[in-house]
């Protein structure tokens, strides 16, 4: 797919959509945090791509170009997204972190319990930490690329990713303090 022009007719564009929609969806799902917003953003991303098809100079991969449009679409839409924020639970039912490990729990069950907590800890990160962390973790971006994508300084990107990791690490320490032997 690299180094080729964007399609200018509907059929080719449909093929490009089918080829890349899952990749774009995965990125946006992880950034937005829910399927509903991610689906919307995928549509917006491809609409933008169609409008900008003539601006694509062909000096990079279409996928890279598409990802950049997806990030930009997410950033533009961020204020209106409906992502449920687990860390702002506001009086709703407590978040289910899975069953408590007991003496009789198997090692596999303990591992599952631990991973559920880690996943939840990542989901509960503040947006300003979670977004660079998602790009770092899933997109494999260097900190400089994260900074460019989010419009922040490289130092800020580094601090946010580090704090995200420290926050998850802290949760792990709490769990170990509580269930040390079992975990």
């Amino acid at each position: 797919m690299a180094d080729r022009a964007l399609p200018v007719d509907g059929d080719e564009f449909r093929r490009l959509f089918e080829e890349h929609k899952d990749t774009v969806f995965r990125v946006l799902y992880r950034l937005a945090g829910n399927r509903h917003d991610a689906e919307d953003l995928v549509q917006d991303t491809f609409v933008r791509l169609w409008r900008k098809r003539e601006q694509f100079r062909g000096d990079g991969s279409v996928e890279g170009y598409l990802r950049r449009i997806a990030y930009r679409t997410f950033l533009n839409a961020r204020a209106r997204l409906s992502r449920p924020r687990a860390h702002e639970n506001n009086g709703r039912e407590p978040v289910d972190h899975g069953p408590d490990p007991s003496e009789s729990a198997s090692r596999a069950e303990l591992r599952s319990f631990l991973l559920a907590h880690v996943r939840r800890a990542v989901e509960e990160l503040p947006d300003s930490w979670r977004e660079p962390f998602v790009l770092f973790r899933y997109e494999g971006m260097k900190l400089k690329e994260i900074a460019d994508t989010l419009g922040i300084t490289p130092k800020a990107a580094e601090i946010r990713v580090a704090r995200a990791l420290e926050r998850v690490s802290g949760r792990l320490r709490e769990l170990k303090a509580k269930y040390g032997e079992a975990l």
Binding site: F25, V42, V47, L114, R137
Partner: protein, 358 residues
């Protein structure tokens, strides 16, 4: 720190070259803090490795979205923005239009004034009074003129009634009328001489009492005093001086009359009003004449204003504006014209008649 974060990730995801990986492993073994972060990141990777759900969005969804969000052409967008701006401006200015500020009148009174009587005309040649020349006293020989001058000057009339063939009458003309004391004493009077035969009935006294006959009349022609027969100049002067009577400012009256004449000829309303005001400021009979002229000007403006208010209701704002414009033009430069101009502007801008204040 950035180096560490990226190396932690690359180590956990097994993307480091073998030598570098080995060195980093040794580093982890020496640094418990680093080891904790590596362990955390390993757990994060495992915890978040589940594949996300598959996208259900179809190409049709994208087409529908694209049509719904079809970009509006820039000129249309600019036109819409302009319309919105105009609408906002209209909305913001609407309260002002609903309750425009009242117009404050500086000269035209709001209380309805009666129409002033036509002011009398005083020819300056009458009021530039001269009671005598080198030939002695100068007499009017027409009763109505003399009374008019007397009225304008608030003066009394000294009437000398003669009769043809009356030698005393001739002597009075030749002697007393040239006497300086008499000339001086006669100065406050309007001087009138009449032939007994042509005098009004009320003034035609019995000629047997002596000649000439002398009367003092008020400005309405009523006799106030008098004497008959020839008297020496000193007695005549004494008679004239001894009476209580008004002493007109002949010079001021002459100047006032000249100004009134100039005002009537002036095409410029501002100049006309200025002259009327100068005359009105003097305390003489002409002041009232000048005030009458000012009142007529004021009434003209007031009539136009009130008529325009009715026009708005009966004929519409355009008719009212026409009337106000026509009325203001000849009064331009005066406070009355300014008042009419302000109301005229209001009616044109708002299409209604303003609330008026004094």
């Amino acid at each position: 720190m950035s180096h560490d974060l990226e190396r932690i990730r690359d180590y956990v995801e097994d993307r480091l070259p073998p030598a570098e990986r080995e060195a980093f492993a040794a580093e982890i073994a020496r640094d418990p803090g680093l080891a904790e972060l590596v362990e955390t990141y390993e757990l994060v990777v495992r915890a978040t490795s589940d594949a996300p759900p598959a996208a259900t969005t179809t190409f049709l969804d994208v087409v529908v979205r694209a049509r719904a969000a079809r970009r509006i052409p820039r000129p249309l967008l600019a036109a819409a923005a302009l319309l919105v701006a105009v609408a906002i401006f209209a909305f913001l200015s609407a309260p002002l239009k609903r309750t425009p500020a009242p117009v404050t009148l500086k000269a035209i009174p709001l209380a309805l004034r009666p129409a002033p009587e036509a002011p009398p005309h005083w020819p300056p040649e009458l009021l530039t009074h001269k009671t005598a020349d080198e030939d002695g006293l100068l007499f009017y020989d027409d009763l109505s003129t003399a009374l008019a001058v007397a009225k304008a000057a608030r003066a009394h009339v000294f009437l000398f009634i003669h009769f043809p063939g009356c030698s005393w009458c001739d002597e009075f003309r030749d002697v007393q009328c040239r006497d300086e004391a008499v000339i001086k004493a006669a100065e406050p009077y309007v001087l009138l001489t009449l032939d007994w035969r042509k005098a009004p009935e009320a003034l035609r006294e019995d000629p047997n009492g002596g000649w000439p006959i002398f009367d003092v009349l008020d400005a309405d022609g009523r006799k106030i005093d008098g004497f008959k027969g020839m008297e020496p100049a000193g007695t005549v002067a004494e008679f004239l001086l001894g009476r209580t009577h008004p002493r007109p400012d002949w010079e001021g009256l002459g100047e006032g009359a000249r100004r009134l004449e100039e005002a009537e000829a002036a095409g410029d309303a501002a100049r006309r009003l200025e002259l009327y005001r100068q005359v009105a400021a003097a305390d003489n009979a002409l002041s009232e004449v000048a005030r009458a002229h000012i009142a007529a000007m004021e009434k003209e403006a007031q009539d136009a204003l009130f008529a325009a208010r009715e026009d708005v209701l009966r004929l519409g704002a355009a008719a009212a504006a026409d009337r106000l414009g026509s009325a203001a033009a000849p009064l331009r430069g005066t406070p009355y014209g300014d008042d009419l101009d302000r109301v005229h502007t209001f009616v044109r801008e708002h299409g209604s008649f303003p609330e008026l204040k004094e």
